[in-house]
């Protein structure tokens, strides 16, 4: 039985054929899991990790009753904010440099700036372990230069996590900033100079405001990546750094407390949502 279809119907069929495979995979690997995650966060678990099908708010209540949870939230927010600010301060000069340097150098340096993203987070974090450890490069240099007597604690603490995360995030922030520098033009700096602005004034009245969209995007990106970062805090924190991300992992894999892990994840998603909302509110002011 052959049926000849109209052109419009043919197009519809084609559209479905193109979209369906991707949609199916997306549903199975993303939509479904996220829904299930939400569901499980409201399920009661019997001791030993067995799931029931009893609906409860208990996971969330326990979360908010536990003072440790607040420590987790505070740690995660505090750490992400510090990392975001630190990355901004580190990446902005790089973006400014790339904006002003001649095109030949700009291409080379751009590739160099992006290339660390090709390297796995594990490798980069390991590199920091080598640098920051008690027997690592930095301590070795400082001791042989006679500046310190014994090794200083650069790792297995928050400081190590900050250093490692900031370095890992610099390429992401740089990418966002560089895009933001597109709005800038040397002629604005010249016009400001002719009107009497010195270098410092030109920087905070002209350069910073015009690059603000890039700054905001970069900050959002790095903040979000920091809140969800897990590898670096685990490896450089030495078990002493407690964040929401590490807690989810411990709950799910180590302690097999899946319902609690699910509710903690939902909390993480809520923080995400808040950050996004804040971003869109502020970004609107700068177009």
């Amino acid at each position: 039985m052959t049926m000849s279809l109209s052109r419009a119907a043919q197009r519809r069929l084609l559209l479905w054929a193109l979209l369906l495979p991707m949609a199916v995979v997306n549903f199975v690997t993303f939509i479904l899991p996220m829904l299930r995650l939400g569901m499980i966060s409201f399920i009661e678990a019997r001791p030993g990790g067995v799931l029931t099908d009893v609906f409860t708010f208990g996971n969330y209540i326990d979360f908010f009753r536990d003072p440790f949870s607040y420590k987790l939230i505070w740690n995660s927010l505090r750490m992400s904010l510090i990392v975001t600010l630190g990355t901004l301060v580190a990446a902005y000069p790089i973006a400014l440099f790339l904006y002003r340097v001649n095109p030949v150098w700009r291409n080379i340096l751009f590739v160099i700036t992006i290339s660390p993203l090709l390297v796995s987070a594990v490798v980069r974090t390991y590199g920091w372990m080598v640098l920051l450890g008690n027997k690592g490069l930095i301590n070795g240099l400082l001791m042989s230069a006679g500046l310190i007597d014994g090794p200083i604690r650069l790792m297995n603490n928050e400081l190590g996590v900050y250093i490692g995360l900031i370095e890992i995030m610099i390429p992401y922030m740089a990418l966002a900033l560089i895009a933001g520098f597109g709005r800038l033009d040397p002629v604005y700096e010249e016009a400001a100079a002719m009107l009497g602005a010195n270098a410092f004034t030109r920087f905070y009245r002209i350069i910073v405001p015009l690059t603000m969209p890039g700054i905001l995007l970069g900050c959002l990106l790095v903040f979000v990546l920091s809140v969800s970062s897990f590898i670096t805090p685990k490896l450089l924190g030495g078990g002493r750094v407690f964040l929401l991300a590490t807690e989810v992992y411990d709950q799910a894999i180590v302690r097999l407390e899946w319902t609690q892990a699910a509710s903690t994840s939902v909390i993480v998603l809520l923080i995400f949502g808040l950050a996004m909302m804040l971003y869109t509110r502020i970004a609107r002011r700068y177009e």
Binding site: P21, M22, R36, I94, V122, K135, V224, A252, A261
Partner: protein, 263 residues
């Protein structure tokens, strides 16, 4: 004079770049250390740990698995993502933006949350620790990139080019083969390269879905680094970096090569 590079900025940026590249650079000399423990600078030199790495069964198996997995995931991502991106770019339909956002949303969410969510579904579906489960899990992170890149690529390729070919008498298949495909090439190369790398380096979601039989290279490295303190991790890291560079070069050559052939 205005807006030129000052010496202060140059020096500052120089040190920033050293900071940026330090962890990657420091791993190279350490990999050639012959010490038993990780000491920097190494007290003795050699290739002892490279040898140990090649002889480590778990690692070599994981390397082969990651390579195979990345290749499969890349091909599948392209097969899934390119048609979808094409449909989104060239067709107007209700819910188009919503669909695009849904396809690319996994990029915005923390991997840790994604990993857990997938774990919870795979447990029921008995996909934990299986090859197909791993492939599906990786597709979550690679397909959004493919779609994003290809939607942009199609956006810069106005339909008028394809329409012109059609007016000149080319069948839809010919249009696709002779016009659309060659113009898509840069986007395809970028998507393929990115997919491969994302899958090859993917660690967090993989941590949730691997099992004793199925361990990817990043997972093996993570475990190793977490528990041991010898320089073999450095040798593995260098191997990983070299493998990454090689993969990019190979992809560039093969896909770029076929473009030169006029396919």
């Amino acid at each position: 004079m205005i807006g030129k590079l000052t010496l202060r900025l140059k020096i500052l940026v120089f040190f920033l770049y050293i900071f940026l590249l330090a962890p990657i650079l420091v791993v190279l000399p350490l990999s050639f250390s012959n010490d038993t423990f990780m000491v920097f600078p190494p007290e003795s030199w050699g290739v002892r740990w490279y040898v140990a790495m090649f002889e480590h069964e778990g690692l070599t198996r994981a390397f082969r698995l990651s390579l195979w997995l990345a290749a499969v995931v890349t091909v599948l991502s392209l097969l899934l993502g390119v048609p979808a991106a094409f449909a989104i770019s060239r067709f107007q339909f209700r819910g188009r933006d919503l669909l695009l956002n849904t396809f690319t949303a996994p990029l915005l969410l923390p991997s840790i949350v994604l990993g857990l969510a997938i774990l919870l579904v795979f447990v029921q579906a008995r996909l934990l620790g299986s090859y197909s489960g791993l492939i599906l899990a990786h597709l979550v992170v690679t397909t959004p990139y493919v779609i994003r890149i290809m939607v942009t690529a199609f956006g810069t390729m106005p339909p008028s080019v394809e329409e012109a070919a059609t007016m000149l008498g080319a069948s839809p298949f010919t249009v696709f083969r002779r016009i659309t495909m060659p113009l898509m090439m840069p986007g395809l190369i970028a998507s393929a390269a990115l997919s491969f790398l994302m899958s090859f380096d993917e660690v967090i979601i993989s941590l949730f879905v691997t099992g004793p039989q199925v361990r990817t290279l990043p997972v093996e490295i993570f475990d190793y680094v977490e528990s041991r303190t010898d320089p073999m991790a450095a040798a593995i890291s260098v191997a990983l970096i070299v493998a990454t560079l090689a993969i990019i070069l190979i992809l560039e050559r093969t896909l770029g090569f076929s473009k030169a052939m006029g396919k």
